[in-house]
């Protein structure tokens, strides 16, 4: 069955809400408006305003309330409209959600799921185009997911809800319209990375909104006879080092691609892990393709220039191969 990423998320929400009365969705305009990216469209009619709960513009307050509701025995799904606004709620995520279990020595847990749209590419400029999943992925106590396929959009939410600890889900805004065939096997775990394209010459490691671009780059490389392997991280915390290192050991070269600013990018962290653990397996310096270090501009040509693009990935891979 063909389905869009948006529909897959909606189906996952519907399924979770139907299966467990403790599950509810809350966030700005998730109800009457239907969600700013229309993910929850129609769910208000189905589940009512208590369980599809519109909130005022109070990110710190309602994310904290979601955490509290999780402590209180519910299974809230909190939608933060975009990652940009999540900065206002960051204190609650860092200083409450991530800490409760450890700091209370296991007495309390916070089974909350926090979803947010992230990333650039829609010409909505510097305050609406951030990628902060690298920051979230650095916080012990959180699990951070980045579904990049319709299957993962469909399957990850339920698994996240089953986790007794806080899980963050980053939905790249450019993926909502992605249409793919839903596979017959259900996604069954949120612990491992996936090889999305097997290859032997260079390992292209990425996730989320950069996966389609990386797959396109791999196709372009294939046309030039370069056999790239594409790794989709899927889980940004904890990182699946085994899959990353296996790919790097096989290909002996790696380019890491993400949409963060280069400095402090998740790509940098992946490179650090490779440099620590697979140094002797490398035949060439590591490389990354990230966003340029500027606030994201509005004009299309500038935005395109600021973002990772297939051509840049191809160039980085070829440079590494001396081509």
């Amino acid at each position: 069955m063909k389905m869009s990423y948006r529909e897959a998320l909606r189906e996952a929400l519907r399924e979770a809400m139907s299966a467990d009365s403790r599950v509810f969705l809350m966030g700005e305009d998730v109800g009457r408006y239907g969600g700013s990216y229309a993910v929850s469209k129609g769910l208000l009619d189905e589940f009512g305003p208590d369980r599809i709960r519109d909130t005022p513009l109070s990110e710190l307050g309602f994310v904290g309330a979601g955490i509290g509701a999780a402590l209180g025995g519910m299974r809230p799904i909190v939608e933060v409209m975009t990652v940009n606004f999540s900065l206002l709620a960051l204190d609650q995520i860092v200083n409450t959600a991530a800490l409760y279990r450890h700091m209370s020595a296991g007495q309390f847990s916070v089974p909350v799921v926090i979803r947010m749209a992230s990333g650039a590419g829609r010409q909505i400029a510097a305050q609406h185009s951030h990628s902060f999943e690298n920051w979230y992925a650095s916080i012990p106590g959180l699990t951070v997911l980045a579904p990049a396929t319709v299957d993962d959009a469909r399957g990850m939410l339920g698994l996240a809800l089953a986790d007794p600890d806080p899980v963050l889900i980053f939905e790249h805004a450019q993926l909502y319209n992605l249409e793919e065939e839903l596979s017959a096997d259900k996604v069954s775990e949120i612990r491992s990375a996936r090889v999305r394209r097997a290859g032997s010459t260079v390992s292209l490691i990425t996730y989320g909104g950069s996966l389609p671009k990386t797959m396109a780059a791999a196709e372009m490389l294939a046309e030039e006879g370069i056999d790239a392997e594409v790794i989709d991280l899927r889980v940004l915390r904890p990182l699946d080092e085994a899959t990353i290192l296996a790919s790097v050991r096989k290909c002996r070269r790696a380019v890491v691609i993400d949409e963060c600013w280069r400095s402090g990018s998740l790509a940098g962290e992946i490179m650090a892990r490779i440099a620590e653990q697979a140094f002797y397996d490398l035949d060439a310096p590591l490389a990354r393709v990230c966003s340029e270090e500027v606030p994201m501009p509005y004009a299309r040509h500038l935005e395109e220039a600021a973002l990772p693009q297939p051509a840049k990935i191809v160039a980085a891979a070829k440079a590494m191969l001396g081509k």
């Binding site: 700005e28 305009d29 109800g31 009457r32 408006y33 239907g34 700013s36 519109d54 005022p56 513009l57 109070s58 990110e59 710190l60 307050g61 940009n84 606004f85 206002l88 829609r122 010409q123 909505i124 400029a125 510097a126 305050q127 609406h128 280069r262 400095s263 340029e292 270090e293 500027v294 606030p295 501009p297 509005y298 004009a299 299309r300 040509h301 500038l302 220039a305 600021a306």
Partner: protein, 333 residues
């Protein structure tokens, strides 16, 4: 909602009245064109139209002085235009051209102009309020007699930033004019579903801030009320909060299917259109003939056409200049 239109004599001269009318018309026609250009994909990204709310920006900004600071939101085309940005630089910015007010970096939500002390365009709801407090603090410390006017929607009131800013401004008695554009909705969320207390002046008063509430569809009333508030603030009495009761006729943004409002409600508010109402009043007062109105409209139409032509003819910022103006010093990576 008061459904009648304001009538009767005006508290100011005909020339000024015509200027108010013209500015409202300039916003209206410019934005109608923007909507069209959005359809033609000349303008992209988010576009939040101010159509229906023009009297607020026009009446209030005309009450302010060049020395004053303006802080606005993502729904700020009208404010930018009335404050003195050229329609050309606004249109070019929306096209993403280097002739735009921010060389195409900002787009619709991020218009800036240092000359007129227009501090932007801010796409974070309530993000401008702390900035306004700081601008007012600077003015006070520098001994300037300026007022900082900060615009925001009623949706922003739920944000912590509103609370912290109101308290700081009141505690320090800073010259901030908090201009709340209450158009009853924050995207699809009606005020009554976002605030336990829907009397916004009562909320603001809890900070010991003086408050005013005015019909935002009546440009004369907006002007008068803002003048009164502006004077109070300028004289050093501390901040003032003004609620402008208004309505947006269009959807929240070009992505919004607008399914959360009753069509009758929209129609009712359209009966009280700021342009329509003020034009009728001027005619009734025999300050404006239909001919004069058409001439004015034609003049404004020509300005819009010039702005579009200017934007069309503009250049793209070279990609090499992506990091230009990131920092004053050398590239910062």
């Amino acid at each position: 909602m008061n459904t009648s239109l304001a009538t009767g004599p005006l508290p100011f001269a005909r020339d000024f009245a015509l200027q108010l009318l013209e500015d409202m018309l300039r916003i209206r026609r410019m934005e109608e064109k923007c909507a069209e250009l959005y359809g033609a994909q000349k303008i992209r990204g988010f576009l939040h139209l101010y159509i229906g709310e023009e009297a607020v920006a026009v009446g209030s900004l005309h009450a302010l002085r060049p020395v004053d600071n303006i802080v606005a939101t993502y729904r700020e085309h009208g404010h930018a235009l009335v404050r003195g940005l050229s329609m050309q630089s606004i249109m070019a910015e929306m096209y993403g051209k280097r002739e735009g007010s921010s060389r195409g970096r900002g787009g619709s939500m991020h218009l800036f102009d240092a000359r007129t002390r227009f501090f932007g365009g801010n796409a974070i709801v309530a993000g401008g309020l702390p900035i306004a407090v700081g601008l007012a603090l600077a003015a006070r410390m520098r001994g300037e007699a300026s007022v900082t006017a900060c615009y925001f929607g009623e949706g922003a009131i739920a944000e912590g930033a509103f609370h912290e800013s109101m308290n700081l401004a009141a505690l320090w008695r800073l010259p901030v004019l908090f201009c709340c554009e209450n158009n009853l909705y924050a995207m699809g969320t009606a005020l009554s579903r976002s605030e336990s207390q829907t009397d916004l002046c009562a909320k603001a008063a809890s900070y010991k801030v003086r408050t005013e509430s005015v019909d935002g569809q009546d440009v004369a009333a907006v002007y008068e009320t803002t003048c009164r508030a502006e004077q109070y603030v300028r004289e050093g009495n501390g901040p003032c909060f003004i609620e402008y009761r208004t309505y947006r006729y269009r959807a929240h943004s070009m992505f919004d299917p607008d399914l959360y409002r009753d069509k009758r409600e929209i129609e009712q508010w359209k009966q009280r259109g700021p342009l329509h109402g003020f034009t009728a009043r001027l005619k009734q007062l025999e300050m404006l003939s239909e001919e004069e109105f058409l001439a004015l409209d034609a003049k404004v139409g020509a300005e819009v056409e010039r702005a579009v032509a200017f934007a069309e003819a503009g250049d793209w910022e070279p990609i090499e200049d992506l990091a230009l103006d990131l920092c004053a010093r050398e590239a910062n990576k």
